[in-house]
């Protein structure tokens, strides 16, 4: 039962990241050089990546493996999310190296917190029992709370931090209450089976109704409470209200991290829980998720129309996209474990990566565009097409992608998601999704219009971007377009990852 070297190897990516984060924080005691912090952080991420690739090879050869007495499962599904999280963290850190100037003298702490949170998210993707899910969720959330409240001089970040903290704590309470019910109904916390042979929730539930008060209802209550708890992390209506406030108030790089890495891991764990643990239960989760998806994207898109702050608008857009992703979840849960092919899960995984590229591009562009003035109103973007050509182009490409116009990854991603929905017989949901894209075109294109068609109100001088900012903009824009033209490669990887969950 003890910890073996194999266990350590299986969590080597997380370990490397944690070590990297610690080194980064400690390096702050010695030197306050921003470049040093960044280099150390990227070094840590590079080692993480290397280990993750090694694990991918290993899993490819030997199949999924569980570690630490079955509390973690290392399969391709988890590794896919780990790549995504690590890549996102790297891009966020590079893009914010200029922005982090205003965190002085706590630049290294900022970087360290991002890495800690990333480590938590990576663990979350690999969590194999309910308690590991909870612990890694908190590990991922608490650093972000601190990050959201990072700028001391303004009230908005503090407000963002308080709101995020309180709502995430409430959501954790819901989640745990739901977990407690699931535990009570099944007698186990195991989501994914492992080498020890302990029964999993799915197996326990498969043996018939448990001998506890409200047996069947307990499972239902547990699943619904857990959905509510995850709903906060996913920005799912009706638990979405914190999202715009936090996106607007928190420092922009934190918003970028929250919108992409955080969401990816949360969706991963929802998929795992509802597919592996509750997939066999008779309840119709698909209808629940389909309804939530429809409501979430509709509300997100409609409220986004009236926004005047770019970051707040991106917050609502994040809500809307949570809705699109829930389409995939609804499609996955529609089938039950037996008949499902990997299409639904792989479409969610593909969209998570594409969405990350688009959202990062949008946030990075906003970082550059608001760098000097600090003015985040949409009107302030007027004339940016001339003042900051690269950032404006990146934002335009990202927004067209989020709308779902080809040839961007956003189109391909929506194609796959709606594909999955129609494949599961949810044609109406695909129609709702497509009509929602039309609504979203209105506000996304509105920003593009402001950037390119309006003359700047006051200052019309060029807005320069630092090298790090330009680099990340190029990378994300290239990703949006390349994956839009040749989605096949990533889709294949996503399918492989999804099949790890299915088998």
């Amino acid at each position: 039962m003890g910890i073996t070297a194999r266990d350590l190897f299986l969590i080597a990516p997380e370990l490397a990241l944690t070590v990297g984060a610690t080194v980064v924080v400690l390096s702050g005691l010695v030197s306050r050089q921003r470049q040093l912090t960044l280099v150390l952080a990227l070094l840590g991420l590079a080692v993480t990546f290397a280990f993750a690739i090694a694990l991918w090879d290993n899993v490819h050869a030997n199949g999924a493996q569980s570690a630490f007495n079955d509390s973690l499962i290392v399969d391709k599904f988890a590794l896919y999310i780990k790549f995504l999280v690590a890549g996102t963290a790297a891009l966020v850190l590079i893009a914010s190296s200029e922005y982090a100037e205003r965190f002085r003298p706590y630049g290294s702490e900022f970087t360290g917190l991002v890495l800690f949170s990333a480590a938590g998210l990576m663990l979350l993707a690999a969590a194999a029992d309910l308690i590991t899910i909870y612990v890694s969720l908190e590990l991922a959330t608490l650093p972000v709370v601190a990050l959201a409240a990072f700028v001391r001089t303004r009230i908005a970040p503090i407000e963002a931090g308080v709101k995020y903290l309180l709502l995430s704590a409430v959501s954790s309470a819901f989640l745990l209450y739901g977990f407690a019910f699931l535990y009570g109904a099944s007698g186990t916390m195991q989501v994914v089976g492992g080498s020890s042979g302990a029964p999993t929730i799915a197996q326990a539930l498969g043996e018939g109704s448990p001998d506890v008060p409200f047996g069947g209802l307990a499972i239902m209550a547990g699943a619904i409470l857990a959905t509510a708890g995850f709903g906060f992390k996913l920005s799912m209506v009706p638990f979405q209200m914190w999202t715009p406030d936090v996106y607007e108030g928190a420092p922009t790089p934190v918003g970028a991290f929250l919108a992409t890495a955080s969401k990816a891991a949360a969706f991963a764990v929802v998929l795992r829980l509802f597919y592996e643990a509750l997939g066999g239960s008779s309840a119709d989760w698909s209808t629940l998720f389909a309804a939530l998806a429809a409501i979430t994207m509709t509300i997100g898109n409609l409220v986004a129309i009236v926004q005047s702050n770019v970051k707040r608008l991106l917050g609502y857009s994040a809500i809307a996209h949570a809705g699109y992703l829930l389409i995939g979840v609804a499609a996955v849960t529609a089938h039950g474990q037996e008949t499902q092919d990997a299409a639904g899960i792989s479409s969610v995984l593909f969209y998570l990566a594409g969405y990350a590229a688009m959202t990062l591009a949008a946030f990075f562009a906003v970082i550059v565009l608001t760098q000097r003035s600090g003015d985040e109103r949409i009107e302030a973007m007027a004339g940016m097409g001339k003042r900051a050509p690269l950032a404006a182009l990146a934002l335009a490409v990202a927004l067209l992608g989020l709308t779902g116009i080809p040839p961007t990854v956003g189109f391909m991603g929506k194609l796959f998601l709606f594909n999955a929905a129609v494949n599961s017989g949810l044609v109406w949901l695909a129609v709702v999704g497509a009509v929602n894209s039309v609504v979203s075109a209105y506000y996304y294109v509105g920003i593009i219009r402001t950037m390119y068609l309006r003359e700047p109100a006051g200052d019309a001088s060029p807005v320069a971007a630092a090298f790090s900012g330009r680099l990340t903009l190029w990378i994300t824009v290239a990703a949006i377009l390349v994956l839009g033209f040749w989605p096949g490669g990533l889709l294949e990887v996503a399918r492989t990852a999804a099949s790890g969950l299915v088998s």
């Binding site: 080809p406 189109f411 391909m412 594909n419 129609v431 009509v435 219009r449 068609l453």
Partner: protein
């Protein structure tokens, strides 16, 4: 070859943007591109063998193999003339843009991109590829109208975008429903394969799928009451864009109706024929009556487009006659109308644009006696006007007479009422000519100059096909026949199936 036809304009677009030189250089690049494109399309059209295979110049390459999406291009008798039309109009559009002075490089970039995207629509035989080009065309249109337009250009551009996008949302869902109606392995986006499949037993009622496509194409064509974006977009767009919009973009709608709604859903189309006949009459008469009270020259031409597109719908309704009498005359007329209206209305918009360039007004009441000042333009206007009202020896006559002949057996009353639209057209065209071109010359227009050589070339490019195909329509109808024949065959097939079941 079709790949070249699609991508030559896109390469030209990239060149126009990349080469930094005088405005003249950019114009010459654009002109070279569209002339090369015209050469390619003409040679394609000449090589196209109306007696040969149904689909010619087919190119097929796997693209996203996981979903069976292919890069599949090819033309049949239906699309070949429309590709030619797009080639012709591209030249005219560049020539009438000779006087554009603001942001020249971007302007020609978008214009060429637009041409390339429309080429893609006509040349794609894969549903997804078709859809991608269909959406791609929105982006250049949006920028062209909102940057280089006049009047309420923002509003019009957005309205255009949202209407089309809404329509395509339904098309998207319909495409996916079509794809998933078949068991795995038989699923395909290949139009050439879908047309031979039995589409009566889909996962959703096939009438819904039919309606999804119908809505998308009805917005584009446009069919009343989905037409309201058209007058706005036309009025506020720059001349070349109006030419492209009336000339080829509307034709995408008609092309889709013929290719998909008629080609794949013969039974549903036959069932919808009475409704289409009514809509056609409404389109023709409503459009014509609205034209009468227009004071803006461009808006007048725009509404005349609505009226004329009614004939296309009427031609489609001819399938209501039942297979016994169905010889394809009506459908052929509809296809013919697409082509001829493209050249004729393109010419009308060119002329209106030339007048506007000189007089800086489109207000009909302000004009009068212009023929004295600008005889060449007046000649162009008269040719376009007479062709538009269907004067024999112009191609307009051939198309309309075919529609009437084809539809009369099915819906006599509707045909007669629509024919009344021709009378109205004669009325408003001649009345407009009299109010603008003729009458006493006005003092205020004494300084106006006649068409330059470039302008004459722009008009000439469009006048030639009007007469060539008017005097010798077989050049066009033979090719269209080759495209319509399979559609007629599918109607006969459906009827024999029904008869077989009955017996």
């Amino acid at each position: 070859m079709l790949t070249a036809i699609t991508f030559v304009p896109m390469i030209g677009a990239a060149l126009a943007l990349a080469v930094r030189g005088s405005a003249r250089t950019t114009r010459l690049i654009a002109l070279t591109t569209v002339l090369a494109e015209l050469g390619l399309t003409i040679s394609m059209y000449v090589i196209f063998n109306a007696q040969g295979d149904t689909y010619q110049f087919v190119q097929r390459a796997p693209w996203v193999s996981a979903f069976g999406i292919e890069f599949l291009m090819g033309v049949d008798g239906l699309s070949a003339p429309l590709v030619l039309l797009n080639g012709i109009l591209g030249v005219a559009a560049v020539l009438v843009s000779w006087r554009v002075e603001t942001r020249v490089r971007e302007y020609f970039m978008w214009l060429l991109l637009l041409q390339g995207a429309v080429m893609g629509v006509f040349a794609s035989l894969d549903m997804i590829l078709f859809f991608i080009f269909w959406e791609l065309e929105l982006v250049p249109m949006f920028f062209l109208i909102s940057i280089w337009g006049t009047g309420r250009k923002d509003y019009s551009a957005m309205k255009f975008l949202l209407f089309t996008f809404l329509g395509s949302a339904f098309m998207f869902a319909a495409i996916l429903a079509l794809y998933f109606s078949f068991p795995a392995g038989e699923r395909t986006f290949d139009m050439t394969a879908l047309i031979h499949k039995d589409l009566t037993n889909l996962i959703v009622p096939s009438s819904l799928v039919f309606s999804g496509f119908l809505v998308a194409f009805a917005v584009k064509l446009p069919i009343v009451p989905l037409h309201t974006w058209l007058p706005d977009a036309h009025t506020d767009a720059p001349t070349a864009v109006s030419v492209m919009l009336a000339g080829v973009l509307l034709k995408m709608g008609g092309y889709g109706l013929l290719r998909i709604n008629a080609g794949m859903f013969p039974d549903e189309l036959a069932a919808a024929a009475p409704l289409l006949a009514v809509l056609a009459v409404v389109n023709v008469l409503y459009g014509a009556f609205i034209v009468m009270r227009q004071t803006d020259l461009k808006r007048l031409v725009a509404y005349s487009s609505v009226s004329h597109m009614g004939f296309v719908v009427l031609g489609l309704a001819s399938v209501g006659a039942g297979t016994a009498q169905l010889d394809g005359t009506g459908l052929n007329g509809a296809a013919m109308q697409l082509f001829t209206h493209g050249t004729i209305t393109g010419l009308l918009f060119v002329v209106v644009g030339l007048v506007y360039d000189r007089a800086h007004t489109r207000h009909i009441a302000d004009m009068g006696g212009l023929s004295g000042r600008m005889p060449l333009i007046a000649v162009g206007f008269m040719i376009a006007g007479l062709a538009s009202l269907g004067l024999p020896t112009t191609s307009g006559f051939v198309a309309e007479i075919m529609v009437f002949l084809g539809t009369f057996p099915a819906y006599g009353l509707a045909t007669a009422l629509s024919a009344f639209g021709v009378v109205l057209a004669a009325g408003y065209i001649l009345w407009t000519a009299q109010r603008t071109m003729f009458g006493p010359p006005l003092e205020r227009w004494a300084h106006l100059e006649d068409a330059t050589r470039v302008d004459v070339a722009a008009m000439g490019v469009l006048i030639v096909p009007i007469f060539v195909f008017g005097v010798y329509p077989a050049l066009l109808t033979d090719v269209f026949d080759a495209g319509i024949a399979p559609i007629i065959a599918s109607f006969a097939e459906g009827a024999s199936l029904v008869a077989g079941q009955g017996g």
